[in-house]
Symmetry: C2
Subunit: 276 residues, 2 copies
Amino acid sequence: MKRTELFENICRKGSFLCVGLDTDLKKIPEHLLKEEDPIFAFNKAIIDATAPYTIAYKPNLAFYESAGAAGWISLEKTVKYLRENYPDQFIIADAKRGDIGNTAGLYARSFFEHLDVDALTVAPYMGEDSVTPFLGYDGKWVILLALTSNPGSQDFQMIEDKHGHRVFEDVIKKSSHWGSPVNMMYVVGATRGEMFKDIRAVAPRSFLLVPGVGAQGGSLEEVVKYGIIDECGLIVNSSRGIIYASKGDDFAEAAGREAAKLAAQMKELLTQHNII
Amino acid sequence: MKRTELFENICRKGSFLCVGLDTDLKKIPEHLLKEEDPIFAFNKAIIDATAPYTIAYKPNLAFYESAGAAGWISLEKTVKYLRENYPDQFIIADAKRGDIGNTAGLYARSFFEHLDVDALTVAPYMGEDSVTPFLGYDGKWVILLALTSNPGSQDFQMIEDKHGHRVFEDVIKKSSHWGSPVNMMYVVGATRGEMFKDIRAVAPRSFLLVPGVGAQGGSLEEVVKYGIIDECGLIVNSSRGIIYASKGDDFAEAAGREAAKLAAQMKELLTQHNII
């Protein structure tokens, strides 16, 4: 999906919400376990209930891989279901891959050709040749980890280099020469909204994928206050707060309700900032 | 596998060779393509031919994931074949995973319980809580990326912090408080042997997984000169140089020959250093 189309979808729906499909067999309602593919059955119901309020879905690969080959099948079915029924949704494989050039090329084949998602999260540690193989696909995106939302983000991402820049800033600055705001985004955690000021100083036009709103404690208002740009430039993800809103028979309905709430807040913020 | 057992295997075989199972459908001999599972057929033949000379195998996940669910099945069969027929081999899933705590826990479940490998390569960018969930398994290992062998390793791993330490040194030093030399190793590329001096200054007792010997240009003698310790402390990987030594019907035989050559060099070096 191209940047213009992504922005059009945001405007049309008044939402920049991404639902994280972190689907865990141990957390889905019990009555689904008798289905042939419980993971897919859960995802399908969640997608149907939340799609009116979202512009993106983000399956996290760990949740699928934890079931081995069977998990990959559930993932493939989920992506296919989205493609066939909700072609306006931006699909992000949250895989945080990163390997040397020829291997990165294989991951690109895996995610952009075989699975056919729109974007893949990539870890920057191995540098340029671990990232560029993903950039040669028209309408496909790399979403590079910059500043994550977990406690461990303090360990290496915040190291200050000898010029006074932090490693996450070095990652954004250096990688901006490899890709551009039409094929590269950054993961920036929402745990401290004011950090978005520093991010916008080095990535003024890029879309940012923002996890950490909700379960991890980030505030949507803060993220928007410091992070929004003319073309929105934000995709805010919520996983557990939406997909596990209820453990009962009404799980999908409850997920839809939570997604609608967030989308309503987003619409108001987009209006306040004269974007819609 | 525990460290003592790994070292015993190295001594008994006079080898610290790991064969990288970077099995690519586009590179395996054509006659295998008519097999029901060509990837597994290739791996099985390579393993049978090289096992006398190796102490470890390292399937790189990218090569399996590029075929989606089918690739995972080939991987599962390969690991099972090794476990059943060569229980003294150390199995490394080269996956370079790294995600927030609860997700890392799922990857641990995937690789250490479902797939049941001995070790997993992990990317350090997301810090402590992305690494520690892998450390709670008896006899299982994290192999943390420190200094990789690709050109992009210069981009972020070599950033000098304000105290004059490079990021890869910070990674080793900080992570040494999370694990210990009995459950954590480091990936250190072989492209410049003298770097092993700097690595040993911060990781005196750790095992190092060393890619980059062979196809990527590293020298075994240099690696051993600067990297070897009393308990060997090295696992040297070769992938393409061994598994694609011949494209003909004799591919397995040729792989065995290349592995035997490297193992013979290793035996000599282990003897020179009074380890065997």
